[in-house]
Subunit: 232 residues, 2 copies
């Protein structure tokens, strides 16, 4: 339980348990690199650092294991998950499956006003060529994708896309972004938006597929995985 004081109001008891807070803190620590891939989580030390006992910490760890950010071995504790080349490809494919379907749904479901809203977000990010968006181009790109997926109106698909993007973030955020690729990506986004606004299912689907293929190929090259394949 945490006491909060906002604007001189009476203290308000926040109904957020330690285990929930810890879950969020831990997720952030994995995503921002405070905990590096492969690193082991010492429950005693970590709970002490967070000022809680091991119970809530262990519950939080279980949740993150379910999200694929951590892994546990019996009696050997939790590790930050390391990314094998194969897994990165699989994550990309999973994301592609969801986003392709989402775009197709969005063609039929998105309202005109929603389409305009997302289109404006895209225009803002491309209007200012020299002016890099604050959280970095990669975050901006992921954000646009997420906005696009939301247009499908399917919360389960949205949530899973978010999870895939989170899992892709640690390895990708450590690699430099080629400015040329960023520019190409924006152009590809615009092609998707154009097709969406003309309600062309085939067009939007094709544009998105093209973009996802380019995006994946580029990432694999940057990560030095272009030779890896999933062929059995």
């Amino acid at each position: 339980m945490v006491d909060v004081n906002v604007g001189g109001r009476a203290p308000l008891k926040l109904n957020v348990t330690y285990s929930r807070q810890t879950e969020a803190v831990l997720r952030e620590m994995v995503l921002d690199g405070t905990l590096t891939p492969g690193e082991r989580l010492n429950e005693v030390a970590l709970s002490a650092a967070l000022g809680i006992s091991r119970g809530p910490l262990r519950e939080a760890i279980q949740k993150l294991v379910g999200e694929g950010l951590l892994r546990v071995q019996s009696h050997r504790g939790a590790y930050v998950r390391e990314y094998e080349p194969r897994e990165i490809i699989e994550l990309y494919e999973m994301r592609a499956a969801l986003e392709l379907y989402a775009v197709r749904l969005a063609v039929e479901r998105a309202s005109d006003t929603d389409l305009e809203r997302v289109h404006n977000i895209l225009l803002q990010s491309s209007d200012s060529p020299g002016h890099q968006p604050q959280p970095g181009p990669y975050v901006a790109e992921l954000d646009f994708h997420q906005q696009l997926v939301e247009l499908a109106g399917n919360s389960i698909i949205s949530a899973n896309c978010l999870e895939m993007n989170r899992r892709l973030y640690p390895p990708l955020s450590r690699t430099p972004r080629d400015p040329q690729r960023v520019q190409n990506a924006v152009a590809e986004h615009q092609r998707v938006m154009t097709a969406l606004r003309s309600r062309s299912r085939a067009g939007a689907s094709a544009a998105m597929e093209q973009h996802l293929a380019n995006s994946m190929r580029n990432s694999l090259v940057v990560l030095g995985l272009e030779t890896v394949t999933l062929e059995s």
Copy 2:
């Protein structure tokens, strides 16, 4: 720790923790209806019934919350998740997104022997018209879908399909299966397999899309949800 004795061998200490076992037991209890949707889980009573303390039980609950089978409210405990019509549609769409993409990958990746193996499974289930498969037609159908998805060689997509099927199982397993629909489904499966074996990407994709659309429409009618829509 559990002692196990198989075939007169020396007792073997299984390295499976209570929390892992509890996770599996609890999942089974939700899926087979021992715990009914909306039912509240009393931690004290449940841990006593399982012969463990509340710690491991709570960890297991967190895992199942992550899988979408349970839900928790602060200081009010865990509930078996109830299925709103909207959620069922969303689950179907999510599954469709993954299976459609999986089939397209399978066209390029599945080996001939794997295709034959899955084809044989399908033949066996359709060869014996009067002879119902043991676990019931719905389980057989889900099993075939899962086999199909595995052909894509993407473990993340496979795992997520499995999770979607698990979440769809509780509401669907309670409804009767129309024998005519079961027969149609098998025919549709065969159309998918035929296209797959001739390595026709467009054909397999179209056949799968058709099948998924029919399957979803049928389920919604059976569940009395045919009027529900996700249009925004």
